[in-house]
Subunit: 273 residues, 2 copies
Amino acid sequence: MDRRQLARDLTAIENGELQVDDHHGLIVAITGPPGVGKSCIVDGVLHRLAPKHNIAVLAVDPTSPLSGGALLGDRIRLSVLDDSSKSESIYVRSIATRSSSGSIPSIIKDLASHLLANNFDLVLIETVGAGQSEMRCAAVANRIIVIEGPARGDGIQAEKAGLLELADLIVVNKSDLDGAERVVNDLTISLSLTNDAPPIIRTSAITGEGLDELSDLILSVEERNSSKRARARQQLLMAHENRIIRKPAFDTILDRMSEEGLSVKDALRELDE
Amino acid sequence: MDRRQLARDLTAIENGELQVDDHHGLIVAITGPPGVGKSCIVDGVLHRLAPKHNIAVLAVDPTSPLSGGALLGDRIRLSVLDDSSKSESIYVRSIATRSSSGSIPSIIKDLASHLLANNFDLVLIETVGAGQSEMRCAAVANRIIVIEGPARGDGIQAEKAGLLELADLIVVNKSDLDGAERVVNDLTISLSLTNDAPPIIRTSAITGEGLDELSDLILSVEERNSSKRARARQQLLMAHENRIIRKPAFDTILDRMSEEGLSVKDALRELDE
């Protein structure tokens, strides 16, 4: 497909100008706390899966409304895109979560459906596992891979962010650094209480450890029952939330709550009318 | 008030066995990414405000359902509690977010109301600014203080988590470490685009810098219009979400979604009936 046409279509979807039917296919979320090396992992995986597979990457930045997209300057630079034998089967798009409108996950779902319908056999969603709507972005996927970094002395970050229940696979990245072993051990202990624990692997962008295995697993990892249910929950709550956020009166009601002291109860009643 | 009776009441509130009326008073959320030193800040503030003020601390741990509370072992150890001249005016309670039932923020609101009605003049909510329900816990407060740490090379963590819009005050902690200066600069630049930017101060538990100022500001910081609106939004969405989560059929519907492939649309329709 013509890339420029594809880009135009995706922009139209983002702007709500193009309706998209659901399209089945493999959507894998790569999520985890800030700074664990998600972009490097995505780069390593693309090097291994392209050009055999056509892969689209949707990079979701939880940019605050205050910064208005400034973080995009730091956006991932994928070395795989410098390799012309591979870059033609890869498409990368950044999605800025400009407003907390709550509809970003729906947009991502539509973008992923459109990409799957247009010759991509895999969509990767890269999202920071922190902040309110991030779990819902991940829940759009069929499989969720949670990336964790080596211990920094403040516990398992993914656990603190409530991400573990969503994981079909856990990757401890930067395995070349001190502290990776401890995180693997801590995770193993935490997960030993469950009978549906996701597998844990180690990766390192420096040594290349685990990246072949991870690339295989992205195509083949099994869905856990508990992550499936956790994703269903996120999807249901997201759809429920969209019903109220999309009401024309929503913004006015918020103004009246903050400026005139309209109560939550009365706000809901007015929105129900 | 008798501490044992207070503890019993709070447990009854957590279990939904005791109804609580809203009670006005100062509720301040202390939030920020994992590892920035929120507990040390709380400790430093308690040393300064007790025993002049009666202060309750609600410490919210976003423990994953998988770990079932294991993180509580790391729970804050407040040095101020070793000082008997101050500890009598301080009450600390940990709230484990055992299930992602979505009702934790409501429970916190009720706990805070009960504490304010029982002679506490300040309730501090300590919550990790990461994960889905965390912003909603913070939104229960009248004022939100966002703690940030020194730069670790991966940008402003609070910005990534979407916390800045909620902040009435930003604290850059560990100001004795390299990288604190850079975070202050980055935050100043990010916030320069807004006409309603929160003040930024520096603190260090090591040198004591800024802790007197922060203690004063906790009692006096002004509410920003934009944070007020952001909190109203969280409160409204939380109340809306509770309407569906509390339906008796909710869990069964989730089972049918994950086990029988019930669609989101049909799930919502059944829950509406």
